[in-house]
Symmetry: C2
Subunit: 489 residues, 2 copies
Amino acid sequence: MDHKLFIYNSLSRKKENFIPINSPYVGLYVCGPTVYGEAHLGHARPAITFDVLFRYLKYLGYKVRYVRNITDVGHLENDADSGEDKVVKKARLEQLEPMELVQRYVNSYHENMLKLNILPPSIEPHASGHIIEQQQMIRKILKRGFAYESNGSVYFDVNKYNEKYQYGKLSGRNTEEMMANTRELAGQDEKRNPFDFALWKKADPVHIMHWPSEWSEGFPGWHLECSAMGTKYLGETFDIHGGGMDLLFPHHECEIAQSIAANGVDHVKTWMHNNMITINGQKMGKSLNNFINLSEFFEGNHHLLERAYCPMTIRFFILQAQYRSTVDFSNEALQAAEKGLKRLLSAGELIGKLKTSPASTFNLSEIINETFGALNDDLNTPIAIAQLFEAARIINLINDGKETITKPDLLELGKFFNSVMIDILGLISESNVENKGNLESELMNIIIDLRLQARQKKDFQTSDLIRDRLNNLNVRLNDTKEGTTWEKE
Amino acid sequence: MDHKLFIYNSLSRKKENFIPINSPYVGLYVCGPTVYGEAHLGHARPAITFDVLFRYLKYLGYKVRYVRNITDVGHLENDADSGEDKVVKKARLEQLEPMELVQRYVNSYHENMLKLNILPPSIEPHASGHIIEQQQMIRKILKRGFAYESNGSVYFDVNKYNEKYQYGKLSGRNTEEMMANTRELAGQDEKRNPFDFALWKKADPVHIMHWPSEWSEGFPGWHLECSAMGTKYLGETFDIHGGGMDLLFPHHECEIAQSIAANGVDHVKTWMHNNMITINGQKMGKSLNNFINLSEFFEGNHHLLERAYCPMTIRFFILQAQYRSTVDFSNEALQAAEKGLKRLLSAGELIGKLKTSPASTFNLSEIINETFGALNDDLNTPIAIAQLFEAARIINLINDGKETITKPDLLELGKFFNSVMIDILGLISESNVENKGNLESELMNIIIDLRLQARQKKDFQTSDLIRDRLNNLNVRLNDTKEGTTWEKE
């Protein structure tokens, strides 16, 4: 591929030129939601970040297999190895069978993702649907001596692993620190050390989701599913693993340890982590009462919101920050984003109506190069968007007759603007969210060109036929010196 | 519950008063799609039939847990125990990992169901996600002596089962007949008898979806998933099992045998089967070239269709027949249905505008009683719809001042009409579904005609140009004897 995409690798702590293991194929794994409640901003940011990555990699010509999992079992309270399963607990509260609860929130998650114009991943595996694969991985880890059974559960043996490998290399933590940060004492429970983590948990009576195994009737540890499903669908090593920064430790650290312990190889080449979201400067949290669901944003239905915000406004606002920076939500900032997006969308619509001149009075290549330069620099979307604003400013000036553009430049400008706005950033006007097609306008372009060609050949029978058939559909063509535009009546 | 719902039970071959095992809870299981291609009419009919049942049971006050599965493994060609897995074969043809193919067609199925205003089921379990549960059931059946292992596969022993129970009680077939209908000879393959069926199949090298077991690295037989998942989510016995009549034998017959063999009890109280769909009087089939996908209906993109038909027209048309009758699709019939639905929707809108009088000149209770009487009579939707037409006729007469209605009657009429139309039959105006606009498909028709014209003139430069530009938009043309169709990729 002819590009210089650099991605910040959380593991090496530097930006690296992205070269797939097996180009043009790219394997991308992203941690999806634990489906025990409505999707909120914390779900939107990774989904949008890695949607843009997915789109951009495809734009660059790669064939991407994007796996985003659904966690429906094994994620215990406080992300720890004890406490109730989050799904089971919520199911009990809502008086539903756990998989009924899972289905409800998976459906709701999908609805929200659709509204945010997030492309569905290639595969969306459920943790509960891959128990066998997880058990197979546990057996491998046990066989290689990096885990132990204790009272029907199986734990990863961090000290044993550390004799040969390095637990903590992603997060930069070491076991002494981890030890200092825990109130548990070694040997006090089933684990040999407090930082050991569960690969399999024996189900206690309250846990109604469980499967048979040689260790106990139980369920897999939370960290295991991503290692098992990533390997199953993307191979023992794959290109990119993404997720929120809150998952870096312990979740991703444990994933690395599991994969190395089971297969002897680091399974991920590039680790990417999006930063967190704050609300009015505060960390988002249920206890702070500033937890806003996506549907509450879309409906303006929360005490912190002055009014509703469209899904596209949320998407645009999130992309106005580089994914490794924090994003602070406030009504003022959202309203500013809404205006900004509107300006870009209006400029996009104006392009088709611009008149051309013998010369261009501005440097289009510079804008294009700066935009792709920004995208190639670790998906720097705010700078790419700043360049779109610059393009919008010029589009308006051309429309006002204060700048001029040549016909080839106009074609290139249209192609560039739509590629970046629609194909890469996924920003479309709200009315097109439901009605996904700009296929319609692309088909119109083909028809207009065929008509032009017929006229050049003096085949007026064909050109008239085209006009008549479009008239029947209430589509009117307007021929101008600069070309043909169309409108629905 | 204060109602007299009667449902035709395919097992007892008569209409039975529906009484749930554990009222107000109702367990409903319906066979969902094998996801290896686009959803077609054969998927729409059971989905719509059982959607109306689901809606009506909820309307009656029941708490329904509706399970509809996704078959993503084990369904071999020709619904037999040999041949390639349908999903694996299609994945090979499309050069995708099987779960990538599954995800694509699950997404497409969901989109089509949404357009048809079909409520999502409470749980939508995947066969591949329940391998352990299926293996557990096989062990139970083996333990009770109703199955045998042969060359790494496990087969259900129909003769052994018949010593104690009756294989064929749902379909009314007996093993002599089954023997006469097969070309296989007993003992010629792994099976003891040709009518024995696979519970577990050893994977041959071409089968890339497989899991470990004590019998072999393999995969479950097709019939097993529904027994295993039905039991898991609805219990060892539950109220209603539905599906298309084509599944009655062998699929449902085998399900009954498996459940009785494993648990000693009949797992389903009421079996419901919707009848088949024909196209212009002919059976629908790929070999007959009259196989119409739902998206082709919605876009008018099939040589047998004069034009596009809205999803609500399809839904209404299917409901104009009782679910146990066949339905024959034709352009004339669909256009009549479209008009009829429009009349009902207009009448519904008129209700709010009617003026009231001191007396009603017609008998509202009669219409209401007849409607619910029809629904209670094995979901006789055509008679219920006939009553809605009668109501619409009267609504128009009231509007014209030729009939009168009191205020209480008007309130009741509005409540009745909306409950039946919207809540129970799920019929809403098209603009309320997701209005995808069929301008796109009309533009495609123009382009296809221009290409045909170019080819007739031997202007291959133009016809190739058209194909290439459509390719760039991921729109593929398929030329057939009957004409050219197109699809988005």
